[in-house]
Point group: C2
Chain length 489, copies 2
């Protein structure tokens, strides 16, 4: 009892992080642009709460069989288990079931917000991150899938990824299922094998064809010596599956023709090829050619719940990885058709398709391309030379703000003027306003151009700046106009 309580640690919980200033506004600007595209496509916003019942979240955790693992969960007083949502799809499925009599059908909705994963954090891997989803619930038509692909292309261009720097790849799970049927992997008892095949193909970019072949067969030992059990296919079976991953041809029509050969007599496979052909035709009619959207059998998407078309947006420009090697930026969004998620609640089939944009990866891409557009201009800083005239300084700030200029007075201890300029520097202030006793008597203020000042300090020659002085003295009454001029407005 007598122990003095120790001070709490001021620390972000492990795996979580804080976002400051431009990090917040850049993300917001990007999401606003995406939302405008979604809106134009007729999608309505939906915001569910962060908390769901574990029951509603179900066991549809990516690649995990046991419920609850991977989520932050706790027991309510009523003994109900609650958890933080781990994606935006599970809450949508719950909403689509809960409000099925009130929502328009089909229901197009978009959602943006954080999701939480109770996973081991790593470099760049956080336990809270943003997702940005758009889904159409209640339409079995491939027009819904095609529309999402077109919308994804539009959204990427809207945020600043130019045509040519991205491609949306489209495939169909049914085609893969047809190919697996041909390879002798049909039937409920082959579920585990099909799962292994799916995950193996999904890793082809990272493991290469030989790595995938190993996983299709007996298994694969990775660089660390860990062994991953394979699907146990024979070499012939494996080649049929491998043929699928390389079925992409120069045109959509040629790819479709090749896929028709591969699925042979499989009913489900033919259905998948028909759907791909339908999507391609719809996109063509809307002018989304192969410069934006292509059929690519190499894309399978890892998630188990997809039932038809799957799609993925890849950025094709090169960046340098952490070891300085050139590589393609890669995937920033993906999705597909999942006809089983709402059925969990209602028992009835409800077709649905949708996409999720990886917000942080897309932001990183925009930064890599220098295309992040958020304004990060610091405020004009009005310094305080005489603490008794604080009302005067606040009056100046008030005038600037009224004029729409971002401005603030220095509100720390004004004793040390150097600290005030250091503060202005830290705030990336473009202009400092100074009024000492002399200026007050004369009815003037001094404006320091801090951006120009920094440039002069860098280039060490005044020659090129001689027509643009870094400091001016102007009548107090002309404060706003003079600041505007210095800001180049």
């Amino acid at each position: 009892m007598a122990d003095k309580p120790r001070r709490p640690r001021a620390e972000t919980p492990k795996g979580f992080r804080d976002y400051f200033g431009a990090e917040v506004t850049e993300r917001k600007a990007m999401l606003d642009r995406i939302a405008a595209v979604y809106h134009r496509y007729g999608f309505d916003p939906l915001e569910t709460s962060a908390v769901e019942t574990v029951e509603a979240l179900g066991k549809f955790l990516p690649d995990v069989d046991r419920p609850n693992e991977g989520v932050f969960a706790w027991q309510d007083e009523d003994a109900d288990w609650l958890a933080l949502r781990y994606d935006l799809t599970a809450p949508l499925a719950r909403v689509a079931a809960q409000y099925r009599n009130d929502l328009p059908s089909p229901y197009r909705r978009y959602a943006m917000g954080p999701v939480w994963r109770n996973e081991k954090p790593g470099p760049g891997r956080f336990r809270q991150f943003y997702q940005c989803d758009a889904d159409t619930v209640g339409s079995a038509s491939v027009a819904a899938d095609a529309e999402i692909c077109a919308m994804l292309a539009d959204a990427l261009e809207e945020v600043g990824i130019p045509r040519g720097d991205y491609v949306v790849k489209v495939n169909n799970r049914k085609v893969l299922n047809g190919v697996m049927e041909v390879a002798g992997l049909a039937g409920d008892d082959k579920d585990a094998e099909r799962g292994i095949v799916l995950r193996a193909i999904d890793k082809i970019d990272r493991l290469g064809p030989d790595g995938v072949r190993a996983l299709l067969g007996e298994g694969r030992k990775d660089d660390s010596g860990d062994f991953t059990k394979g699907a146990g296919l024979s070499a012939e079976q494996a080649e049929i599956v491998m043929g699928f991953t390389t079925a992409r041809r120069d045109t959509g029509a040629a790819t479709v023709a090749r896929l028709r050969e591969l699925v042979g007599a499989s009913v489900i496979g033919s259905e998948g090829v028909d759907e791909l052909e339908g999507i391609a035709a719809l996109l063509d009619a809307q002018g989304y050619g192969p410069d934006r959207i292509v059929l690519d059998p190499g894309v399978v998407r890892g998630l188990g719940y997809y039932t038809g078309p799957v799609y993925e947006a890849e950025l094709t420009f090169e960046i340098l990885d952490e070891k300085g090697r050139k590589r393609q930026f890669g995937s920033v969004a993906g999705g597909g058709r999942y006809d089983g998620l709402v059925k969990r609640f209602t028992g009835q089939d409800v077709p649905a398709t949708g996409v999720s944009i990886g917000v942080d990866r897309l932001l990183a891409a925009l930064r890599a391309k220098g295309r992040s557009t958020a304004e990060s201009a610091g405020p004009v800083v009005v310094t305080v030379m005489d603490r008794d005239r604080m009302a005067d300084y606040m009056g100046m700030v008030g005038e600037l703000r009224q004029a729409g200029i971002r401005a603030e007075a220095y509100l720390g201890n004004p004793k040390n003027f150097g600290n005030q300029l250091k503060y202005a520097d830290k705030r990336q202030s473009p202009v400092a306003v100074i009024q000492g006793g002399n200026e007050a008597e004369k009815g003037t203020v001094i404006l320091k151009d801090l951006i120009l000042g920094a440039k002069i300090a860098e280039s060490a020659t005044l020659e090129e700046w001689k027509d643009r002085p870094a400091q001016v003295e102007v009548p107090r009454t002309e404060l706003v106009a003079a600041v505007r001029k210095m800001l180049g407005q």
Copy 2:
């Protein structure tokens, strides 16, 4: 094992809710406007994660193993207790301590986002709701408090509350402490009594002067028969305190003079009056007169952690309450100076002041005034008469979207055309586009003006609409122009 698992319930967890369409965009539009004001004042955004350590939140009670009631908490694998934040101030205090060497000082930041309370939900009381805060950390100057009050007034006007419909009331805890000193309530041993006095005054709007007097004395029995213990003041002591609550005069200067009388020789009280006077002078200099910001000793704010100036924004227009009686809308925002929160972490005094806007209440106020500005226009709906020509319909939708017009095709089962028009109605669609086989042959489309159609159905006379037909047939090539015209664009 053989039991078929029952279907999960599709239910929002108790006390949580979902937000649809315009509910989301209206809130977003309001927060965007507030953020623009905060930005102009030099405040930077900060986004912390939803999860904090219970230790950082300060929710461990002495001698209690489990976190305090009121938060959603769970134990991490590492045995650390984590919890969802219950406000935006505690995370700011943590951030201010954690990054104290990197942040500018003073640090102006704003934050917007959900907070969570593990409390019994009730009508209109949810366990997740939005807050919108702005705080200045590291400034002891009353200029920081005055600035927040001015910014609050600007923010209210910016979102659509006109001058005259709101007032920001300013008071100072030190004045109240001085008055309590005069009433003989100084000293550490009177802490509990001072807390009761504070909470009693905070309830004056609801309980009236007699109710407050009862709580200052022996206590008060409420309508339900429950008894609340009072502060045990004598009648004389209580009158000194009551005098404080009615000290507001017609002008700020007169209020200040009256408060000086009340605090008498109390040092802390005089300091508080000086601060109030300083705030009033600063606000006057910036043109924020008593039509916007007033000194009002009746405002004390319930929270224990305030140490100096406190402020509250009230909306003064009348609304009808649930019983149909007129009443003032009341408080939508409040805050004050809290110099002790960062000290919890660092042991050093860090002065801070800030405001929190009650997002849902302010939104409700805007709706009550008919001032909510979010666009809620439904999309143009292109109907599907012939499922085989889906590509044609999607082509029309694509053209409309390219032209910036919100549009969608009907993606449900197109068999029943009545369902398509019902869908358009549910979507609040302004225009339906129809192209059957005849029109396709002729190269035309039919546009139905659904807004006009609804009006005609209501007024049951075509007379007034005769110059504006509810349905037109136009060449397919003029689709976009004709839709624009019908939308009045």
